[in-house]
């Protein structure tokens, strides 16, 4: 899981960077808010693709924590499922703060 998400992020970043180079598009100095990224990609803005790659990378450990919780659940280790959900709650708080941006 961890590996595939890394590859996905790397590919998105590489495509965004190559597209920026071909278009002679300077790198943006800020990452767009979540909700503006899809529209910016549809508007053929290569910086938005780089932003998306960065966000995928930032979310990779969150998905890892989710898959660890599922694994503990499959093993019937309820105590560690609860602990991992606690970790996810803290990470979700951090993401929620960024959504309120």
């Amino acid at each position: 899981m961890l590996r595939y998400e890394f590859y996905l992020s790397a590919v998105v970043l590489a495509v965004g960077a190559i597209w920026s180079l071909i278009d002679r598009h300077p790198l943006s100095p800020t990452v767009l808010p979540f909700q503006e990224i899809p529209g910016a990609i549809l508007d053929r803005n290569p910086s938005a693709l780089i932003d998306l790659g960065i966000l995928i990378m930032m979310l990779t450990p969150v998905v890892t924590a989710l898959s660890i919780a599922l694994n503990f659940s499959r093993l019937g280790e309820r105590k560690f499922v609860t602990i991992t959900l606690g970790v996810l709650a803290i990470l979700a708080t951090s993401i929620a703060i960024s959504l309120l941006r």
Partner: protein, 304 residues
């Protein structure tokens, strides 16, 4: 002259900006990428991760705003952790139960630390970073002993024990962490520093796991490698919310840290790092003192 802020750096480069903004952006990105490779090579040879060198170098020699440097470093730490964790998970060095338990205070500390950092004056962050680098240098110089306590027969009421195959000794290593409550407290502190400074926190966590909790170094490093990524996530989203994630800095840092960590891990196998330790300690001390002087507003002749 060293530019104090990114805006000033751009102003210094205004001639070039007028000439070709595209060229300036990508030239600076390549420079940052090369420096990040060097930071990651040093960091991985020392087992500290690249973030410890990235923020001071970006701040002192590129005039990048410390908060932008911390945001970039946090995402570079995530990248490094994602790549490193896959290796450690395959080798079964990562103790997932222990990682998740210690991650609660670490992530909470990182969230609080990041929220403090985005509001803290740059001088405070520079001073704190300088102090952490000085601590890392001193502890590295003094750290010659590694704890090898056999805890395999200890009771394990919390089910936190682990087992892995050690390729060096060709043995199955069984261990049970000790002093878990103390470990939780140290993790909270490591998380807060990590959140404030954008470093992984492994610089505190790995020695603490080994010396305080009697966890073998390989298991401590493997467990920490997974944890630092989750810790840096808590940090990076807070910096993202505060508009402190700059792709012009983040992209070269991510690529550089990834490439440098690959080179560093290969070099570590070939080069006797213990022979280079004094040089590394001096580099850490130099960067630490420069940041402390910066925090105290004492100017030194610029390098760049």
């Amino acid at each position: 002259m060293v530019a104090k802020h990114k805006g000033e750096l751009r102003a210094i480069n205004s001639y070039e900006v007028e000439r070709d903004p595209y060229l300036v952006d990508w030239t600076q990105a390549i420079e940052l990428g090369m420096v990040s490779i060097g930071a990651a090579v040093l960091g991985s040879m020392l087992g500290l991760g690249g973030g410890v060198f990235l923020v001071p170098i970006f701040t002192l020699f590129f005039g990048i705003d410390p908060k932008l440097a911390i945001g970039a470093s946090a995402i570079a730490v995530v990248t490094n952790s994602v790549v490193g964790s896959t290796v450690h998970l395959d080798s079964r060095f990562t103790n997932l139960r222990l990682a998740m338990l210690l991650q609660i205070p670490t992530a909470a500390g990182a969230l609080v630390g990041a929220l403090l950092a985005v509001r803290a004056p740059d001088r405070i962050l520079n001073g704190l970073f300088g102090a952490v680098l000085t601590y890392a240098a001193v502890s590295m110089f003094l750290r010659r002993k590694v704890s090898h306590v056999d805890t395999s027969q200890d009771p394990d009421p919390m089910m936190l024990g682990g087992v892995y195959h050690d390729p060096a000794s060709q043995k199955e290593i069984i261990y049970v962490p000790r002093h878990v409550r103390r470990g939780l407290g140290i993790s909270g502190l490591a998380g807060m520093l990590s959140g404030m400074l954008g470093v992984g926190g492994g610089v505190i966590q790995v020695p603490a796991m080994n010396l305080v909790m009697s966890i073998p170094v390989k298991a401590a490093a493997g467990t920490s490698a997974l944890m630092v990524g989750m810790t840096a996530v808590a940090t990076s989203f807070v910096f993202y919310a505060d508009n402190k994630i700059d792709p012009q800095v983040v992209l070269p840092a991510m690529i550089g840290i990834f490439a440098g960590a690959q080179v560093g891990s290969r070099l570590t196998r070939k080069v006797r790092t213990d022979r280079l330790i004094i040089l590394f300690v001096l580099i850490l001390l130099y960067l630490g003192f420069r940041l402390i002087l910066e925090a105290l507003n004492i100017d030194l002749p610029s390098i760049r």
